[in-house]
Amino acid sequence: MMRRMIFNRLRTSILSLILLVTIVFFLIHATPGGPAYSILGMHATPDAVAALNKEMGLDHPLWQQYAIWWEHLFEGNLGYSFTQHASVASLMGSYLANSIILYVLATLVAIFFSIIIGMFQGYWAERTPGVLIGAGQIIVYSIPTFFIGVMLILFFAIYVSWFPPGGIGGDQSTGALNIGSYFHHMVLPAITIALPLTAGLSRYFGHQARSEYRLDYVRTAWARGIPPLRIAVNHVLRNAIRPLVTVIGMMIPGIFVGGILTESVFNYPGLGWLLWRSALEQDYPTLSAIVLLIGVLTILGNLAADLTNSILDVRVRYE
């Protein structure tokens, strides 16, 4: 029964991935004048365009190009960036690693604070502190990510100079990485991503905790003399935390959105920054490869969240 559920879930994810690849394929071919123009620029000579088309196999019929596109994907060939003069796949590596470390760090921070804030909000619901927390969440949630970043730079990087205003630690050219400096550079971007995330997640979690606190089993726990902290952790949290994995799965696109803007504000060399630079430089192969990669990561992230959740659920139900 559980195997069947996992199988079903895998099937829909694979279907989504196939559709995603197709969508990105058509996105590339929707560029005005076709990919060759976009690579060579609007003022390319027809000869140069024809030559490039031949080189990239763009003179084949669309269905053949589609097949080639798939073939290249399976070979890990994501195209060649003419502006960076490197294959896109080789470009991506360090950017992807930088982004994933930053996003995971920010998400963990957000989850940690969301749980604490949410528990207090649930405990204080309908009393003044709870209402204040709720108002704070809407306000923080409404501050644009990039504005948070700008304000953090203004205060922590320029006014008090505790953290660098951007970039990344270590010397990128020699590849020598200074771990301390690496994370020092990561503090402000991580806060920038984590703040709106915390506002949204803690609001959700607060609602969850509030409804748990009203349930009869919490009354039982009070009546049996269990101390408040133990009730919060051992009883309420245990139940309120259940949908958390699903919610985090649903937040993945939002994390990418925040990440793209944050990396651009802080000049942090991650996927989002690369996406931004390639959009400004009209580097289509890199652009489409990143779009594809973000889509794939989102689908895989959702899949992972769903599977984790079903395993947790089954453990509770059948143990």
């Binding site: 644009p144 696109p253 504000v265 931004w276």
Partner: protein
């Protein structure tokens, strides 16, 4: 989000029939009813704030006629004063006039883009809900794939391709923001489809189109309105983000996101007014719509 329909909606679709001579009364009654249904302190706060921003952007230039593009070479980077209430930028342009101009562009794209996105989302969701099961499944898988690509990623992709102006941005943002709504509409429509009064209408031979239009859409209206407010907030945020990245409204025309980016370039010199005013304006617009939406939602959930 799954909301149950309020009883009042059920009554509306049954009772609000065009009785001759009663039309005006029914209309005013249902208007009062609607206002009552949505009245909540948060609704009024959000609405008031948003109307203020609209007035600032459209009525403001009439009351404070200054050219947002005029360059005053001897008034560079002036702090706010009586002459320039929001200061001037590094070209000596009047920041207040630029803020009003930028507000026009930002709110225009947000509102009109939301109209397009709402239309497409409702259309797609309704088609999925009313079509046979296999087609619904195909459409939903396609939606999953689209939802895996955050709107702003696709927007950046397209912003790199198309010529950037207000109209093209309205179209791109509108055409890329509907998938989330489409799923909500489809799920709501499926829930309403099984209700007794819809089944009854079908028994009486009402066409699919009629049922979708009259019964389902009308029942969903409150939820659509709530989502429309969030949609406007999302689009304002998206446009500001794009403009901030230099991929939105292009200079010399102003938008709040673009102004914020301009300010950030000069952050080392420290003219705070170039950062704070556009940043706060974007924040206020988004908070207005979010508070409005939360107020409506609170009423819908009966709080």
């Amino acid at each position: 989000m799954s909301s149950s329909p309020t009883d009042m909606n059920v009554n509306n679709s049954l009772v609000a029939r065009p009785i001759p001579g009663m039309f005006t009364r029914i209309w005013t009654d249902s208007l009062r009813h609607w206002v009552g249904q949505f009245s909540h302190p948060m609704t009024w706060t959000g609405l008031g704030l948003f109307v203020f921003l609209l007035l600032f952007s459209w009525v403001g230039p009439i009351l404070y006629p200054a050219n947002p593009l005029a360059i005053h070479a001897n008034h560079l980077l002036l702090a706010p004063s009586w002459q320039y209430p929001f200061g001037t930028d590094n070209l000596g342009r009047n920041m207040l006039a630029r803020m009003m101009d930028g507000g026009k562009a930002t709110l225009e794209v947000g509102l009109l883009g939301a109209v397009i996105a709402m239309f497409l989302g409702i259309l797609y969701g309704m088609i999925a809900a009313m079509s046979p099961r296999w087609l619904d499944k195909v459409l939903m898988r396609l939606l999953d794939a689209l939802l895996a690509l955050p709107g702003i990623v696709l927007m950046i992709f397209f912003a790199a391709i198309i010529p950037l102006n207000t109209l093209s941005l309205i179209l791109v943002l509108g055409c890329l923001s509907w998938p989330g709504l489409a799923r909500i509409v489809r799920n709501e429509a499926l829930a309403y489809k099984e209700r007794d009064y819809v089944l009854a209408a079908r028994q009486f031979g009402a066409s699919t189109l009629y049922i979708a239009r009259v019964h389902l859409l009308r029942s969903m209206l409150p939820i659509l309105i709530v989502n429309a407010t969030f949609m406007v907030a999302d689009l304002i945020l998206a446009l500001s983000g794009l403009s901030f990245l230099g991929l939105g409204i292009q200079p010399p025309h102003a938008s709040w996101g673009g102004l914020l980016n301009d300010g950030l370039q000069l952050v080392i010199i420290g003219p705070w007014w170039l950062i704070v005013f556009p940043g706060v304006a974007i924040f206020l617009a988004i908070v207005a719509m979010n508070v409005l939406g939360q107020g409506l939602l609170a009423r819908l959930e009966g709080r």
